[in-house]
Symmetry: C2
Subunit: 469 residues, 2 copies
């Protein structure tokens, strides 16, 4: 679909998406891990590895976090050392920045098609290990010499499920003509912001890359419209790096360095076979409590535009998660309560996470001290305090039906005061950190993309008129 | 010694330093590794470990760098996972920023005393594992709540000799009275800049922390004087983050991300016993070629203010190294040719290094392709092109007589043009990167401190009048 900014653009987008669903389909069937074609238990370790040695493996991790509510545990973890590319191609049409998005179906998506970046490819993908078709548009990200690179940073993904995984989040702006291939469409940031308010539509990789876009500054058009209300005005001021905020970035960097230096993490890869607290049963690996997550297998057959069949192990979380920022206006500037969180798969001790990030159903299997301090403030918030509320899916290529409720909840209380692991930051401070690796975790990045979508609540012609099922 | 900025300050400093040498001394004797008190070869691996399990160990590393001039090798490496503190306390006297420096003797220093940061302590030090005296001034860096933190970042050290070692480089500004203890003295940045021009006086840790100081900006007085000449004027402009430079930081970050994504590094810790290419002989471990470095043992006895005796293994490089930036004026702004270098001990594939960083005597044991591309341009530079030239010592707590010639050489040629691993950057760009970990290596940081010292070449009362032996 070519760039479309006129009246009725939202209707046309949803008709286009519905048409995509007719072109492509995917059959996904859960199967026992021992029956996964192409995957074997490695002799000795029992790690799940692909027969080519590529893609990824499921291994064990032994974790030691002295002083944490749970100091020591073992768990399965995905080891995927390759750095993949998550790239969005952007271009101005009539002075408005558009993003080339793809309707992509993935085995873990509970609803099939979602919007993904222009390119979403593992290194095995783009070096064509599995001999699939060439990745469309890849060359724009592999040779950027003729284009402008707006963002390019390797970012981590779920540290609870991935061992030090990073993907390259890259945004390339072109001025030349771009052929729009089947399954792709140009969308404005405004349209994407509106689509982020719908459940399960903008996928995790797209949310992550969108968050890495610098929202203001040279090289990028001003995307913020006239604020609709005081909250949005405070948000717009929070995005302005020149805002007179109580502390500068040096204070934030000092805090992060301090937490990273004081906190000890030992996470050692161990054999998947015989992890303490985990059992292999019914062809899957699950925790003895039945909580947290399962390692499960799927057989996949994709039909339609591209016909392929494969099998793979996936992580299936037990229950829907909650990912929430508490937001507070300080002197008219919106601040977010970030949490310096440790997850065993992080490369550098701590990353900045949302105020709350947990799976409530898992809490009964954990000591009381593991309950996130502000979970009740989030779950019991009065409706008028809830500024954003949508359910989004996580990486459908590795996670099976992993969904989280994304929330922005406004508060007037300084709930984080005095807590050494929480701190109120502006959006501009988080955007400055997101130019570098290992600072802002994937949940916080995704939620920042959602927060930015609130700037779409301005006067404008484009309103979504079709609810997605 | 209290703050001293008047005429004759340099003389008084050197008299103070000479007096320090009378208060303290250290006997250092090389001994066989098997005779090191408190250190043992770990059963099975042969790794050199301390009987407490603390401090550091000497292990083996198996390195694979596909596409590099040497693709595969093994070597000994120091494993020191603890993050130590390198802290400088600063305070204004009469509007001039002063740094509290320590005259510190270390076993690897060929000349005994050098100037070190206010605090230079491993975590074993400051948690008092070896039951020594409490570390003076440590509390200023452990609890910064009453002070201003000008810089706080964990920086890597030699990736050829350390496995992922990082120290916390921190600068804390106080306004309260500070007792000056024996062995400490206040020096202005101007004095430190002048002392950097002398050989073997400002130690590696001090150079590294000084480089992490933001040289301009809020919270820090302007330290740059009136430029003495066009070169210095171009240097001053290069330090100005608002300078109109050909590319912004986004381009630099894109380049770093690209190099880091394309280059593969596999560095796995292996047993020290039986490293390919290394032999254990005469109580030390050395390469079969006799080049690169040796692992050697020392017995140390410190006398004077603090009486202590201990033994430790050290790395002893075979020959003096060359560390050089080529510098070029582009539109009146000084640019430095940085090299995206891979060393096996880096945590993140690549760090930015000086244009040239090598030990010339080792080159005859390496293939021709390993010769640094601009080494001849540096070594054969006409004298009037050499803007800085001094020999400095590396970390005397781990390296035995490790000395490098630090050079800044001006060129008019665009020598790096088209080379994918080299790029011309301004000082401001490097300063922006040094706020974060893993971007600028220790050699480049030290050389940047030396480069800044050239701003001391302005009219002023303080000139060093005593050459140090």
């Amino acid at each position: 679909m070519a760039a479309d900014t006129g009246a009725g653009a939202a209707d046309r987008f949803h008709r286009w998406l519905a048409a995509q669903k007719q072109h492509t389909d995917m059959l996904v069937r859960q199967v026992a891990l021992e029956d996964l074609a192409g995957w074997n238990a490695e002799p000795g370790t029992g790690n799940l590895v692909h027969e080519t040695g590529r893609f990824y493996s499921v291994e064990g991790l032994d974790v030691h976090l002295p002083g944490a509510p749970v100091e020591r545990w073992q768990q399965p973890i995905i080891n995927q050392p390759e750095v993949g590319i998550l790239g969005i191609l952007v271009k101005e049409f009539d002075g408005v920045l558009h993003c080339l998005m793809q309707a992509k179906i993935e085995p873990g998506n509970h609803n099939g098609l979602q919007l993904s970046p222009t390119v979403q490819a593992t290194r095995s993908n783009y070096t064509r290990v599995h001999k699939g078709a060439e990745v469309p548009y890849l060359h724009y990200f592999r040779d950027t010499s003729r284009h402008q690179v707006l963002a390019d940073v390797r970012q981590s993904e779920q540290g609870a499920w991935f061992f030090r995984k990073r993907n390259r989040n890259i945004v390339v702006q072109v001025t030349e003509d771009v052929e729009v291939r089947e399954g792709f469409t140009w969308l404005t940031l405004h349209q994407l912001h509106e689509l982020l308010m719908l459940d399960d539509l903008v996928n995790m990789d797209a949310r992550s890359v969108l968050a890495c876009l610098p929202f203001t500054g040279p090289g990028l058009p001003q995307v913020l419209g006239t604020p609709a209300d005081d909250f949005t005005a405070a948000l717009v001021r929070s995005c302005d790096e020149r805002a007179d905020v109580p502390e500068n970035l040096a204070g934030v960097l000092h805090w992060i360095t301090d937490v990273r230096t004081r906190r000890d993490v030992v996470a050692e890869r161990v054999p998947l076979r015989a992890l303490a607290g985990w059992r292999r049963d019914d062809g899957r690996i699950e925790h003895e409590s039945g909580r947290f997550f399962r390692v499960t297998g799927v057989d996949v057959a994709a039909t339609g535009r591209e016909v392929r069949a494969w099998a793979q192990p996936m992580i299936e979380p037990c229950g829907e998660g909650v990912i929430a920022f508490l937001a507070r206006r300080i002197d008219g500037v919106l601040h977010l309560l970030v949490h310096a969180a440790t997850e065993p798969g992080y490369a550098d001790v701590v990353e900045l996470a949302p105020t709350v990030q947990c799976t409530p159903a898992a809490l009964d299997a954990l000591p009381a001290g593991a309950r996130p301090p502000h979970l009740d403030a989030v779950l019991n918030a009065a409706p008028e305090r809830i500024r954003f509320d949508a359910v989004h899916s996580e990486e459908g290529g590795r996670f099976y039906h992993a969904r989280n409720r994304y929330l922005i909840v406004e508060t007037e209380e300084d709930l984080g005061a005095g807590a050494p692991d929480h701190r109120w930051l502006t959006v501009a401070q988080l955007v400055a950190l997101m130019r570098h690796s290992h600072y802002v975790n994937v949940q916080a990045r995704c939620l920042l993309a959602c927060l930015h979508s609130l700037t779409a609540r301005r006067s404008g012609p484009v309103q979504p008129s079709v609810a997605l099922s």
